[in-house]
């Protein structure tokens, strides 16, 4: 059932052009802007030699800021509410690393659980992820293997590309991926036996690359549960300045805020807006009485770590961390989630 093809690297742009023309896809790929890898609508030359993007691709289905509806109300009268739904544009995102594909699986679980989130679903159904396997040595902060992933995982992706030097091996993961590969004008060619053999070898070598690790990950949820009252949290969080970069750059962090933004006062006019929010901020949980159930950085670090490595596991049977390492590499004070988990697990009976 699997569909395997070969794409000459020189013809990557031809495939993207075919997707835009024949498949009505708006194609995005990583671009290096001011030294930062960022997903951008493709320009002339697509290069995919990025280690990983600064931000994960979660914004394609869960943007940093979105309007839910607008309201207009004359005082004393009924308001008029106008729903603002996302556009129906299909977006193909190229160069998604396997850790971020696995991040998308976790976002999907959250936004479909209990009650469907209509805004997330409206975007998500029109997004396709064309992944890129990691077959160069991992970054010092990568740890996907110890949290159930792999540098060649296809979870959450529609297509997986593997760099074979002068060409990409292209595998369909979903029906959407198959349709993208078969799009009119596609330059994809059948994979020869040698290519199929080569990709297996490349994947095998990629998976054998040493990475740092969360120790004994299967035992971690129970260890964290037992750690709730441990004084270690206070020690581990002492350096935290509560900036929240760890969660803003995380491929699985989904917390958000809802606020009304006014655009006029007579009549009352404005928008109800969803924005990303952050469990590292005191206001996030503070009651209007002033009582705060997570009143210090220790409680908030514990929430971030336990959400990813305990609560999410208890609710969905999988860890919420995919080992991308962004929170480790970008933390201004060097708080390292792998070191935190390992230390807490080691010190709890």
């Amino acid at each position: 059932m699997s569909m395997e093809k070969i794409l000459d690297k020189a013809r990557l742009n031809d495939w993207i052009a075919a997707l835009a023309k024949g498949g009505d896809w708006e194609v995005h790929a990583p671009a290096l802007e001011d030294g930062v890898w960022t997903y951008k609508p493709v320009g002339d030359a697509v290069r995919m030699d990025h280690p990983n993007t600064k931000q994960p691709p979660k914004g394609f289905s869960f943007p940093q800021r979105e309007v839910f509806f607008s309201f207009e109300q004359i005082k004393g009268e009924a308001p008029r509410l106008t729903q603002v739904m996302p556009d129906a544009k299909r977006r193909a995102v190229f160069g998604v690393r396997p850790c971020d594909g696995r991040g998308s699986v976790r976002m999907d679980r959250v936004f479909a659980d209990n009650v469907n989130d209509p805004y997330y679903q409206a975007r998500r159904k029109n997004v396709a992820y064309v992944g890129l396997a990691c077959n160069t040595p991992p970054a010092a902060t990568c740890f996907c293997k110890s949290v159930g992933g792999s540098p060649v995982s296809t979870d959450g992706l529609d297509v997986l590309l593997t760099d074979l030097g002068d060409r990409y091996h292209v595998t369909a993961v979903t029906e959407t991926g198959k349709a993208m590969m078969a799009v009119a004008g596609s330059p994809l060619a059948d994979a020869a036996a040698a290519d199929r053999k080569r990709v297996k070898q490349v994947h095998h070598e990629a998976e054998a690359q040493p990475q740092r690790a969360v120790n004994n990950p299967d035992a971690v949820p129970a260890k964290l549960k037992a750690s709730f009252n441990s004084p270690l949290w206070e020690e581990l969080a002492r350096a935290c300045i509560g900036c929240g970069i760890c969660t803003f750059l995380c491929p699985t962090c989904h917390c958000f805020d809802l606020n009304d933004e006014m655009t006029g006062t007579v009549p009352i006019k404005g928008n109800r807006v969803r924005t990303w929010d952050n469990c590292q901020f005191p206001d996030f949980t503070m009651h209007s009485s002033g009582h705060n159930p997570r009143e210090n950085t220790a409680a908030r670090l514990r929430q971030r770590v336990c959400h990813k490595f305990q609560y999410f596991h208890e609710n969905f049977g999988m860890l919420q961390c995919t080992g991308c390492g962004r929170c480790v590499s970008e933390c201004p004070v060097g708080i390292d989630i792998v070191a935190v988990v390992n230390k807490v697990a080691e010190h709890v009976a």
Binding site: F69, R272, H287
Partner: protein
């Protein structure tokens, strides 16, 4: 006309304020609002559930529904003036239109309590979340044995639902208390947990339902345990800051549970196993 498809959980329905009653005056005043759905486009609820109320331009706030599910014509909310949205509510008038979405959360298992003695213990504005259970039980009086209501406020002026509580005396044993006595107060003087110990309701075939300030709940539960109540016989409701109501915005969790979905109603047997993050 509002565009209000049933599948968009975030789009509020509209409700008109039909009646406002000031329960408690002062800095943290409490008003009870009676809301009627516009054009009958509403929802049913169960005892203990909450609703997200909107004032457009100010935002949303999660408030427990204080009226019995048996009442279909309106829903009632007792709101303390404390934050941005609740303060804006206190400035509204009869006839104003607000947004409402829900219902959210689990509910008190009232049907499982048929044939039992019910003991309600409320303090401050914590009477509102258990009021739908009290009024539902009284409306179905024959289904239950003794109904006892303990309720206390700081002073006689802080007693909410005063007239309703007096009316309740016909169907239930009502024990009121104030922290500080004043001229003319001839009921119990002291904290609510002390009043419970003073009257010492027996635990046999009984369920105790308590809601109030956290410190009150803590000592009420201790005292109930001293009276012989088992953890499975004690119910309470908890609250946390909420934005979505559907387990996604991430802030109301207590351990793995989002209170907006798995709560707000817990037996003490359940709650004692969760981390104390509420």
């Amino acid at each position: 006309m509002s565009h209000n498809p049933p599948d968009n959980i975030y789009l509020p329905k509209l409700a008109r304020i039909a009646h406002i009653k000031e329960e408690v005056a002062g800095e943290r005043s409490i008003k009870t609002f009676r809301l009627e759905f516009v054009n009958g486009d509403g929802f049913d609820h169960q005892c203990g559930q909450c609703a997200m109320l909107s004032i457009f331009g100010r935002g949303e706030s999660m408030i427990s529904i204080a009226s019995s599910p048996l009442i279909k014509d309106y829903k009632q909310f007792s709101i303390m003036r404390v934050g941005r949205v609740t303060s804006a509510f206190h400035d509204l008038s009869v006839g104003d239109t607000v947004g409402i979405r829900g219902p959210y959360g689990n509910s008190f298992p009232v049907d499982d309590w048929r044939g039992k003695n019910l003991i309600f213990i409320g303090g401050g504005c914590g009477l509102a979340p258990i009021w739908p259970v009290i009024t539902t039980a009284v409306a179905q009086r024959a289904n239950f044995k003794n109904i006892t209501v303990f309720y206390g406020g700081r002073s006689p002026r802080d007693i909410m639902y005063r007239a309703e509580l007096e009316k309740l005396r016909g169907s239930a044993d009502v024990h009121l208390s104030v922290d500080k006595s004043e001229e003319g107060w001839n009921e119990f003087c002291g904290f609510v947990p002390s009043n419970v110990m003073d009257k010492a309701p027996p635990p046999d075939n009984a369920i105790a339902i308590t809601c109030g300030p956290p410190i009150m709940i803590k000592f009420v539960i201790q005292n109930l345990q001293n009276l012989g109540f088992k953890d499975e016989q004690i119910y309470t409701t908890i609250e946390n800051k909420m934005k979505c109501g559907i387990g996604k915005c991430g802030r109301c969790n207590v351990g793995k549970d989002y209170v907006c979905v798995k709560g707000p109603v817990y037996s003490w047997a359940q709650l004692k196993n969760l981390p104390q993050e509420y």
